[in-house]
């Protein structure tokens, strides 16, 4: 059945179909709709799940950790300050190898207060051991959330997954959605290390310098394995439901001399910019990065690259641009645009490409030299 819904709703719908046993969540704009919807599903008996109305995000993630350790599928959703308040528990969920799935509605972090789209919240959590994926439509939000459970719970991965979507621009935009019956696509969770009094064990005990790094290395091995698992799951999804996703989504890239690389809605709007540029005779394409962790291997050689970051790492640069510098060995034109919901149109994106200065950084809207 096709409907027209917001991406927040699409995610709540996917969660309902994945049937977590425990959901613990806390409201925060612009994510609250997800929490509210889920609370309603549970109240109406449409989702047989324990919904824990916790008193903070730290507790939300801690409750998910407890439930997940008991071997139960778990989900939460947050944004911005809430994600930051979870920070300690994010490391914990990943280090404890728990397949928690979380939707994070990307929003700027304070101060000053700002509730609009910005990727700094999630990107500042990039070293916690969570897989991170960024979506750009309600349909993709839905599909990716379903896949996230499957990927997180894969025994080769057993790491938490964060599904990111742009605040308001996507979370509150209504688009069409076609739901599916996931059925056997998401098999029951079998957590090998679920707590079990029949097999008493100490979980996350004090671990000395001789052993600690081994646990970290195991995490990294799983992160690397996740690349394969993601591709496998995306393929399976396409086979069953007909919608195909990749680590990146490419638009008119085959013969492009110039690539615009970005994440989330900006990258989709960039497709319109690319159409304009092509009409002017500029062979441009868009590479929308979906998976940020694990970071993909990309071959961008021989092309000019314009990277748009809706985020910033102070004293360093745009997180995506800098990541591409080291991972793909390129010197892109780095544009910092859309922070805190700053309005960026396809016209603006086209002008970034027209006025590109390879190797330089440009803050959209800031007058004078940067």
């Amino acid at each position: 059945m096709k409907e027209i819904v917001t991406a927040n709703y699409a995610i709540a719908e996917a969660v309902k179909q994945a049937v977590p046993g425990v959901i613990a969540a806390y409201p925060i704009t612009p994510q609250t709709e997800i929490v509210e919807r889920i609370a309603q599903y549970v109240a109406r008996g449409e989702l047989a799940c324990d919904y824990i109305p916790v008193e903070s995000e730290h507790s939300a993630m801690a409750a998910c950790i407890g439930a997940s350790a008991a071997g139960v599928r778990t989900f939460t959703a947050t944004s911005s300050q809430g994600l930051l308040y979870m920070h300690e528990m994010l490391h914990w969920a990943a280090g404890a190898r728990l397949p928690v799935v979380m939707a994070n509605v990307n929003r700027a972090v304070g101060p000053p207060w700002n509730v609009w789209a910005d990727h700094t919240d999630a990107l500042s959590q990039r070293d916690t051991g969570w897989l991170q994926v960024y979506v750009a439509t309600a349909q993709e939000a839905y599909d990716t959330t379903l896949m996230a459970f499957r990927i997180a719970e894969d025994k080769e991965v057993l790491l938490p997954v964060m599904v990111n979507l742009d605040g308001f621009l996507l979370s509150h935009t209504m688009q069409d959605l076609e739901t599916v019956e996931p059925g056997s696509f998401i098999p029951p969770l079998h957590l090998p290390h679920a707590i079990d009094p029949a097999h008493p064990a100490a979980y996350a005990p004090l671990t000395g310098p001789k052993d600690y790094y081994r646990f970290r290395w195991e995490m990294e091995k799983s992160m690397r394995a996740a690349r394969r698992v993601i591709t496998r799951v995306e393929k399976d999804f396409a086979g069953r439901f007909g919608r195909r996703y990749g680590v990146t989504e490419e638009y008119r890239c085959e013969d492009a001399d110039i690539l615009v690389v970005a994440m989330g809605t900006l990258a989709r709007e960039a497709e319109v910019a690319v159409d304009r540029l092509r009409a002017e005779g500029t062979r441009a394409g868009v590479m929308r990065l979906r998976w940020f962790r694990p970071f993909p291997t990309l071959d961008l050689t021989g092309r000019e690259v314009v990277v748009i970051d809706r985020d910033y790492s102070f004293g360093f640069g745009g997180v995506l641009a800098r990541s591409l510098c080291s991972a793909a060995r390129i010197e892109p034109f780095s544009v910092i645009a859309g922070l805190g919901g700053q309005e960026v149109t396809y016209e603006d994106i086209a002008s970034f490409v027209r006025e590109r200065r390879p190797g330089e950084e440009y803050w959209f809207g800031v007058k004078g030299d940067v």
Partner: protein, 314 residues
């Protein structure tokens, strides 16, 4: 002048009302401009108005994420004429602790008032509040209790009453309201009170009084919220008065270990009008499950009796 020791009032004795007190004693100075971004009929702007009149210009407001973060207006505008220090949701009381220490170290007697929502007080901010109370931070903490997370569109909080509809309790809340006053009381602050904007003189006097103490004081302000409680925005004062008349909300103050019932609550505490008169004004109690209603009634009754008993203790 040497500052008074912790817990001692530096102004007139606490529980004697000055004769002939009327609204006329309230200063004319305004510290809240008329153009806040609050919903029409919001009791917050009204309360803040009297709070700041009582506190005067040498005051800092510390505001965690809440409706008040929005009400003050959007950059580059502000509707508040004292410094407002906005801070993360969980952090108001601890930020205030540091601010008081910093101000005092700099030789300033500036009053620090935390103005936090119920979520920022009884839920995410409880740890910070408890810490600041225990450390005897010299501040006034006001919990602006609209009984839900207003800023994010009315989800349940620990302070939402039993049975109330919120967006996360679509069938009515099944857990009773957290008794923050008892939690605070267990920290033995020098001054503690309840208030409501429907009785502005009472609110004004309590803030004035609270600020005479060295050490922490706590005012729990019930904040009728037309948007969240679902009543017409012209009825904020009526709803507030009815909360007091039904003794669903009791006005009292406690200082130096003694509780006294405030004038507006004296009659209702002994002879409350039926609770339904208050609940019926609000959409959030519509279709309230009878079992929840009787638990709610019971809880309110118990609270009323406890206050009476404490007030009458010799």
């Amino acid at each position: 002048m040497t500052p008074p020791a912790h817990g001692e009032p530096s102004l007139p004795p606490v529980f004697k009302r000055r004769a002939g007190e009327t609204m006329a004693q309230i200063p004319k100075e305004e510290y809240i401009l008329e153009t806040t971004s609050a919903c029409p009929g919001c009791s917050s702007s009204l309360s803040l108005r009297y709070i700041l009149k009582a506190a005067g210009p040498d005051t800092v407001l510390v505001i965690p994420a809440s409706c008040s973060s929005v009400i003050q207006g959007m950059y580059p505008n502000t509707a508040v004429n004292v410094p407002v220090y906005n801070i993360a949701f969980a952090a108001a009381a601890s930020c205030a602790s540091g601010m008081v220490a910093g101000l005092r170290r700099a030789g300033r007697e500036t009053k620090v008032i935390v103005y936090a929502g119920d979520g920022g007080t009884v839920d995410i901010g409880l740890q910070a509040l408890s810490g600041a109370l225990e450390r005897e931070t010299d501040f006034l903490y006001i919990c602006f209790d609209n009984e839900a997370y207003g800023n994010t569109g009315m989800q349940r909080s620990g302070s939402t009453p039993l049975g109330a509809l919120t967006t996360t309790t679509p069938l009515g809340k099944i857990h009773p309201k957290k008794e923050i006053d008892r939690i605070v009381e267990a920290h033995h602050p020098p001054y503690q009170a309840t208030a409501i904007s429907a009785f502005p003189l009472d609110l004004f006097q309590k803030v004035e009084k609270a600020l005479t103490f060295r050490g922490p004081s706590f005012i729990h302000l019930l904040a009728p919220c037309p948007t969240g409680w679902r009543f017409p925005h012209g009825k904020t004062i009526e709803v507030g008065r009815m909360a007091v008349k039904t003794a669903a909300w009791v006005l009292w103050e406690r200082g130096q270990g003694r509780l006294s019932v405030s004038a507006p609550s004296k009659g209702p505490l002994k002879r409350p009008v039926p609770l339904q008169d208050y609940l019926g004004m609000q959409g959030r109690f519509k279709g309230l499950d009878p079992a929840l209603l009787s638990r709610l009634q019971q809880g309110i009754g118990t609270n009323r009796e406890a206050i009476l008993a404490e007030a009458e203790r010799p």
